[in-house]
């Protein structure tokens, strides 16, 4: 079963791995007490951080045009996704209401037996 975002197998041309990023509260560290002997202020909690999922992998195609098609398909989701969509990891785990917020290539195109490029894509949960 391929991994999917918004019903499209964006990453299935090559190996890729899903990582759930840090979860929990966003906290502000207390400053030093203004007056010596005064109790330290408490950590200020601003609420739960948004759920973030990072996908790292490699897009693989037999030629340059094929690789551009894969890269453009991801870029299109970045610019065109007006509403959040479902992210599936291909192993049965599903996250609804996710936004693709960043796509970053980790190096130049590698040309060997195949055309390939490493990438990192970041998804965030909407409204959390």
């Amino acid at each position: 079963m391929p991994s999917m975002y918004n019903g499209t197998a964006l990453f299935d041309s090559g190996p890729h791995r899903f990582m759930v990023q840090r979860q929990g509260q966003t906290e502000v560290e207390p400053g030093e007490p203004a007056i010596q002997g005064q109790a330290s202020a408490r950590w200020l909690q601003l609420g739960l951080v948004q759920l973030s999922i990072t996908v790292r992998g490699r897009l693989i195609a037999p030629d340059e045009a094929g690789l551009w098609a894969l890269r453009d398909a991801i870029s299109a989701e970045l610019t065109a996704s007006a509403s959040p969509a479902t992210l599936e990891d291909g192993n049965g785990r599903i996250w609804t209401g996710m936004w693709l917020v960043r796509y970053e290539e980790t190096g130049p195109v590698d040309i060997g037996r195949a055309w390939s490029i490493g990438y990192k894509a970041v998804f965030r949960k909407v409204g959390q």
């Binding site: 190996p15 890729h16 791995r17 490699r58 693989i60 037996r113 390939s116």
Partner: protein
């Protein structure tokens, strides 16, 4: 690839006599290995950067004070043939950059020169080693 006793060896405009062997080594300069979500074994490997290095070993008849230097660039050409005739004769060509030149005396007493070279491709896509049929006796 190893060519024993190659014929008519020319390197950067110089004829090199008494060449014992030329070895062509190919290796990965950068190796891509990728793992997926499903298990411990890599599911993709590729070599986007590779090197083609050549080593030439020639006997020296006498001591010498001249020779090629690291950084020199030009054509290496030589022939190989399974017989003394032209049947199966093959020409091997490459554009090379000299990387190392060493002269010394072998344990048996013969003086020998070893020249190491890096083969370069004009386009980056073509194999820098060009092998062609030379059965017609062409040079």
């Amino acid at each position: 690839m190893l060519v024993i006793n190659p014929q008519s060896v020319s390197l950067i405009g110089q004829t090199i006599d008494r060449v014992r062997r030329i070895a062509i080594h190919r290796s990965a300069e950068r190796l891509l290995v990728e793992w997926g979500n499903m298990g411990p074994y890599p599911v993709f490997a590729d070599v986007p950067e590779q090197r083609v290095e050549l080593e030439l070993f020639a006997d020296l008849e006498r001591g010498t004070l001249d020779g090629l230097e690291p950084g020199d660039e030009g054509a290496l050409e030589f022939f190989t043939s399974p017989t003394a005739g032209s049947g199966g004769r093959t020409k091997i060509e490459a554009t090379v950059v000299v990387t190392d030149v060493r002269d010394g005396v072998e344990p048996g007493g013969s003086a020998q020169r070893r020249i190491r070279m890096e083969a370069v491709s004009a386009s980056g896509t073509a194999d820098p080693i060009v092998i062609s049929d030379a059965e017609d006796g062409s040079r």
